[in-house]
């Protein structure tokens, strides 16, 4: 049988990650998410309430896991978020992340990147730079690295969550049960 237990986060959270919350928080929640995935959008509605409940006891990390066969615009959304991050820093990344989920229905079926570029501007990025970055696949490798780390960690759909490095297969749709699972990992 395998030597590593299935569903173990690899690599662990590090400086390369997009992170909200204190670096030394006792609870680390990692999401592998697809910006075009409706279930991830739903999770995006649950997470702020979870984070409010746990405050400084948790940090949240987002890694890209675009399912490009079913979500054709997911890769460009992820790359655009990376481009915005490189221009405006982490704050801009999270703004872009939030905007993309909040406005998902406006760009998910779009034939081009126009709406994604508008959101990038709103998040503080230069849309022309983002457009060039998308044309040249500048951040494709970074997104794919995220994706492959998810595969190696046992991501089994989107969203997949890891709590302190272990895959969480329980219910994340209810704030109460999600908070309970996170608190259980704190001890």
């Amino acid at each position: 049988m395998t030597t590593t237990q299935q569903g173990t986060l690899r690599p662990p959270v590090g400086e390369q990650d997009h992170m909200l919350g204190p670096v030394d928080a006792p609870i680390t929640l990692v999401e592998y998410g697809d910006l075009q995935c409706p279930h991830c959008r739903r999770a995006h509605g649950v997470l702020p309430r979870v984070m409010r409940r746990l405050g400084d006891r948790m940090r949240f990390v987002f890694r890209h896991f675009p399912l490009t066969e079913s979500h054709p615009n997911a890769l460009h959304a992820a790359e655009a978020a990376e481009s915005v991050a490189s221009q405006g820093g982490e704050k801009a990344f999270w703004k872009m992340h939030d905007l993309l989920y909040d406005h998902q229905p406006e760009w998910e079926d779009a034939p081009d990147d126009a709406r994604i570029l508008e959101l990038a501007r709103e998040a503080g990025g230069d849309p022309d730079v983002v457009a060039t970055d998308l044309d040249t696949d500048r951040y494709e490798e970074r997104v794919k690295e995220n994706f492959m780390s998810g595969v190696r960690s046992g991501v089994n759909g989107t969203p997949t969550f890891f709590i302190n490095g272990r895959r969480f297969d329980g219910d994340w749709t209810s704030v109460d049960s999600f908070v309970a699972a996170l608190e259980a990992a704190e001890k």
Binding site: V151, G154, N156
Partner: protein, 164 residues
């Protein structure tokens, strides 16, 4: 049935089978001899989620192919149903119909769930000589990821490298 004690373990010769892949075509396990095969048993076509197990595997076929491995899905659905499911989900690997007699192959591999009348979510990595090198039964309701499959394929690669 389909508890961890019944699933065929590593080291067991994989029982050969011939199943319909389309209404007028069949596929046998022995057709793959010389190449690793990943057998992914799953309960049914058309589960109401996106980014599920088969969708995920579909996204990472290239990773399996790096190890020269072929992926095959198996459920008790008919080949007509598989055809519809496969085209809607744009799956780029074959789905086999363990349909008549129902679940016979899943039973042979020890992963049939009598009560539900479907295969469990179970994975087998079979080497080019037809020997099971890794098997895994997923807990009910949990989609297995691909981490175990890739680890098994890598272990086989390094073993083959050591032999050469």
């Amino acid at each position: 049935m389909a508890d961890p004690s019944t699933i065929l373990p590593a080291g067991t010769p994989a029982p050969d089978f011939t199943l319909h892949v389309t209404p007028d075509q069949t596929l046998s396990l022995s057709d793959f001899r010389g190449r690793p095969v990943i057998l992914a048993f799953y309960p049914n076509d058309f589960s109401p989620v996106c980014g599920d197990q088969l969708g995920l595997y579909n996204e990472i076929l290239a990773e399996f192919h790096k190890h020269h491995a072929e992926l095959v899905g198996v459920s008790v659905d008919s080949s007509w149903c598989h055809g519809a499911f496969s085209s809607i989900r744009k799956l780029h690997f074959p789905l086999l119909a363990d349909f008549e007699p129902k679940g016979a192959v899943a039973r042979q591999y020890g992963v049939y769930r009598e009560h539900e009348g479907t295969a469990a979510r179970a994975l087998f990595v079979i080497d080019g000589d037809g020997i099971i090198r890794w098997s895994y039964l997923s807990p009910v309701g949990v989609n297995p990821g691909a981490d175990g499959i890739l680890e098994a394929l890598e272990a086989m690669d390094s073993h083959a490298g050591a032999k050469a």
